[in-house]
């Protein structure tokens, strides 16, 4: 078993060490991603990890796949452009809650409603870690941070409900303290045809003293076969359970999972196949387009 693990790391990891704090939730996510892509035997040269800015956005560097470590909040447009260019790529977004639900939240809504075939892993630590501890869009009401010293007075974004209502076809939530369960979600998200959001509780051990590993362990439970993930009403029911229970009961697992055509399957140009494989425009075609104007 140990030998196998070493071999796995040689294939999918770059050897670059992340700069996360000891105990950071993102290590668990790293393990889960590695497990998922290994078990799926993804071709590393056809895998593209796209991140934004923040602690978690260092993720692409630890892997030996292709990667784009882009700018704050723009993971989804960059990933969408790459996917449109080459549909044969497995495109995975890896970023944090500030990136995904704050500065870049508009893109989440639109990537979801377009059903772009990408997997979006959001490491949600409910705090801005890299900027040393300000409130995030998912910080809970009352959270005391450097930017909310008297307690946060804003309602947190509910990314699960937001993604479902925006048209995402696969919406799940994991916990970095349970990488095996998370890896399973990531695998299903990658295999899923269409937009997959995987929100991951990934505790910040340095700046978020409220939402700790223990805090989550006391509250989370796994959705099981009794939850019908193809049912929109049930999905919303589970998506709002944490809020309705005042964070006493927090479900993790797959909230929503339906089959719908992707953007690329419907678009007049993209449905012909990978753009990068399409023939070069010919002089005859160009001449015809000029002559349209005679």
């Amino acid at each position: 078993m140990a030998t196998q693990t070493t071999q796995v790391k040689q294939i999918y990891t770059s050897g670059v060490k992340p700069v996360w704090c000891p105990g950071c939730g993102d290590y668990g996510v790293q393990v889960a991603i590695l497990k998922a892509i290994t078990e799926l035997s993804l071709d590393k040269s056809s895998t593209l990890l796209v991140s934004g800015i923040g602690c978690s956005s260092a993720m692409p560097h630890v892997f030996s796949t292709y990667g784009i470590h882009s700018i704050h909040g723009r993971v989804l447009p960059v990933a969408t452009g790459a996917k449109f260019a080459n549909d044969d790529l497995t495109v995975i977004g890896t970023t944090g809650d500030g990136d995904a639900y704050g500065i870049g939240v508009a893109h989440l809504i639109h990537a979801a409603r377009r059903n772009i075939d990408i997997t979006y892993i959001v490491m949600n630590n409910q705090i801005y870690g890299l900027t040393t501890g300000q409130a995030s869009p998912t910080s809970l009401v009352g959270a005391k941070t450097k930017s909310t010293p008297f307690g946060d007075i804003e309602e947190p974004v509910n990314p699960i409900a937001l993604a479902i209502s925006s048209g995402a076809t696969f919406v799940a939530r994991g916990f970095s303290g349970d990488p095996a369960h998370l890896a399973e979600l990531i695998k299903q998200g990658i295999v899923h045809k269409g937009f997959a959001l995987i929100d991951v509780f990934s505790p910040c051990v340095t700046f978020n003293t409220l939402n700790t590993y223990d805090w989550f362990r006391q509250r989370i439970y796994k959705l099981d076969a009794t939850h019908d993930a193809s049912n929109l009403a049930s999905a919303f029911d589970k998506a709002t359970e944490a809020e309705r229970s005042n964070w006493a009961k927090i479900p993790i697992g797959i909230f929503y999972n339906i089959d719908k055509p992707t953007y690329s399957e419907l678009d007049v140009a993209l449905k012909k196949g990978s753009t990068i494989k399409q023939p070069q425009h010919t002089k005859e075609q160009v001449q015809e387009l000029i002559d349209e104007n005679k």
Binding site: A58, H61, R74, V78, N86, I109, Q285, K294
Partner: protein, 588 residues
């Protein structure tokens, strides 16, 4: 006042027709028809439209200047006005040439307020439209028929164009159009007034945005990302309408998404472009910097409109020059180019992708409302000259070297890139400062010598591309005409067209003028440009208050241009206007 007329009578026969009325009067399609008919007659056309001005009811006009030699501006005064409503008379009467003809329907429009010298041509346009077509909207077609008669255009060509344009709508629509135009053409008492001699060659009539879109298509651009914004929107319309011809168009949620998708697509190996106006470009700025840092070859179109902020949405400006030159934090190589004609919109776009990929940097094509939305007849384009150069792309992993050094330090600053999907050449493109492999040095920096050195070398590597482009490309100097002249007009982009005509007018009066025009604005070959400008009497003509081109020239060459003709009211430059203002300066 009548300089324009004097000019046209000296050099050529040119007739300026303006169709004015309200939204829904079919003005746009009449103008487009007139463009095509003139072109089919072997004539040259320059057309421009004014729309959504502040007059109630939505005043709209379309102006077509027709000539038998090439023209590059749309004419200051109107020779023939089709006034479809009262507003058209009141708004346009100050723009009429001294012997202009005004076509109007006396049952709808009162022409009493026109100056005495203006020739009135009352026609029962509404009756003709109803009799011939049963549709009052065909009034403009009846008037168009009369215009064809006045300027001596072959109406038989009209049939073919109508069939091509309206054929899909069925024979009834086609014959209604033809009959209405014929009735207008045959209307009693209309005589041919101008004699325009076509050369028998049928040219394409395109607006700058369409020419740019086709140029990009010729360069094998396969993707366009945009959020609608006047005056760039018709580029988007073109790509959307041609998705079945091998281009992907995505309307995005905002311009931020547009440029970031472009970066994603370009990084994944497909030629991609985004486009907008100044407001949208403001949102694109951070993405532009990303392209600079990760060395992604993107093309960005910025069609200037009159700012600041929302400004005059349908009006023109050249005031974004300094903005696009400096947009984004930090320093990185970029190329900025402003096409000077509709034809150059094609050629510039066709080459922009080569430059972007050769130097792995963003290329900004700077248009403005005039060039984006003006129509010109263009000569045949030699498509064999359109070459595709994808720059340094690594396709084969080396067996001897370990990891692929995407950002390898090279003599020319350009590092071979790999396209995702290529085995063995994986790397991470990072917007943080990185080493040759793309690994971050930013997080470890803290003044540690090793990382300080990497930072210096990577920065230099990127900036070195500017030297390489200046060394290898010939385009980064302005074009000069009449190099031994005594005086020069200097301008860039769309102002070149009217400036060229102004120079001709000045020289016809014995003034010794040349023209120095910039299409490529960054980088500038400072030495050659300085050499070209030094010791000359130069007048700067441009569409900004601050005279930003003059600022750029001073910044790069040290030459201060004291005399300037500036315009910032949103209206385009007229050749006659440049002529008058420049003449005032040299006569003073």
């Amino acid at each position: 006042m009548c300089a324009g007329n004097r000019y046209t009578s000296v050099f050529m026969t040119s007739v300026t027709v303006r169709i004015a009325g309200a939204n829904g009067d079919g003005i746009e399609s009449s103008g487009a028809l007139l463009n095509k008919i003139a072109s089919r007659n072997g004539l040259h056309v320059y057309a421009y439209r004014g729309y959504q001005s502040i007059i109630r009811g939505g005043h709209l006009w379309y102006q077509v200047r027709i000539a038998d030699t090439p023209i590059s501006s749309y004419g200051e005064t109107i020779d023939i006005l089709i006034a479809l409503n009262q507003d058209a008379i009141e708004n346009q009467k100050s723009h009429l040439s001294k012997d202009a003809i005004v076509i109007y329907d006396p049952s709808k429009v009162n022409a009493d307020s026109l100056p005495q010298n203006i020739k009135r041509l009352p026609m029962p346009l509404l009756d003709i439209a109803i009799q011939q077509a049963g549709d009052p909207v065909m009034r403009n077609t009846a008037a168009l028929g009369a215009v064809l008669k006045l300027i001596g255009l072959d109406i038989s060509l009209f049939d073919d164009i109508i069939r091509k344009t309206f054929g899909r709508k069925g024979e009834k629509v086609v014959s209604a159009n033809i009959n209405t135009a014929q009735a207008g053409y045959n209307y009693q008492g209309i005589e041919k007034k101008y004699s325009l001699k076509g050369d028998g060659k049928v040219r394409a009539v395109l607006d700058g945005n369409t020419a740019l879109a086709i140029g990009a298509y010729a360069a094998d651009c396969k993707m366009y990302f945009a959020y609608p914004m006047t005056p760039a929107s018709s580029i988007l319309h073109w790509f959307a309408a041609h998705e079945d011809k091998g281009v992907v168009f995505k309307q995005t949620e905002d311009e931020i998404a547009a440029i970031n998708m472009t970066v994603g697509a370009a990084s994944a190996g497909v030629r991609a472009m985004c486009g907008t106006s100044g407001g949208g470009f403001s949102l694109m700025v951070e993405g532009l910097g990303m392209a600079g840092m990760i060395e992604a070859p993107i093309v960005v179109v910025e069609s200037q409109r009159a700012g600041p902020s929302t400004g005059l949405p349908t009006k023109t400006s050249q005031a974004d020059l300094m903005f696009v030159l400096h947009a984004s934090q930090g320093e990185f190589p970029r190329i900025v180019v402003a096409p000077r004609s509709v034809e150059e919109c094609f050629t510039v776009a066709a080459d922009a992708f080569n430059l972007a990929e050769r130097y792995q940097c963003p290329v900004i094509i700077l248009l403005d409302q005039v060039i984006s939305e003006s129509f010109e007849t263009i000569e045949d384009i030699d498509l064999s000259k359109v070459k595709i150069d994808r720059g340094k792309i690594e396709t084969q992993a080396s067996t001897s070297v370990g990891r692929f050094a995407r950002y390898a330090i090279t003599d020319d600053g350009v590092s071979p890139r790999s396209i995702p999907g290529t085995p063995g050449l994986e790397f991470v493109a990072a917007t943080d400062e990185h080493d040759e492999y793309g690994d971050l040095v930013s997080d470890m920096y803290a003044g540690i010598d090793k990382y300080v050195e990497i930072r210096e070398r990577m920065y230099e590597k990127r900036m070195k591309k500017l030297d390489t482009m200046l060394k290898n490309e010939t385009v980064f100097v302005p074009e000069v005409s009449n190099a031994s002249a005594k005086h020069f007009i200097v301008c860039y982009g769309s102002t070149t067209g009217p400036a060229k005509e102004a120079v001709d007018m000045l020289n016809a009066e014995g003034k010794d003028f040349g023209l120095i025009s910039f299409s490529y604005l960054w980088p500038i070959d400072a030495e050659k440009t300085k050499h070209m400008l030094e010791g000359k009497h130069i007048i700067d003509v441009e569409g900004s208050y601050n005279a930003q081109l003059a600022q750029l020239i001073r910044m790069t060459t040290g030459i201060e241009i004291k005399e300037k003709v500036r315009k910032w009211n949103g209206e385009p430059f007229y050749a006659e206007e440049i002529y008058r203002k420049v003449k005032e300066i040299v006569d003073a």
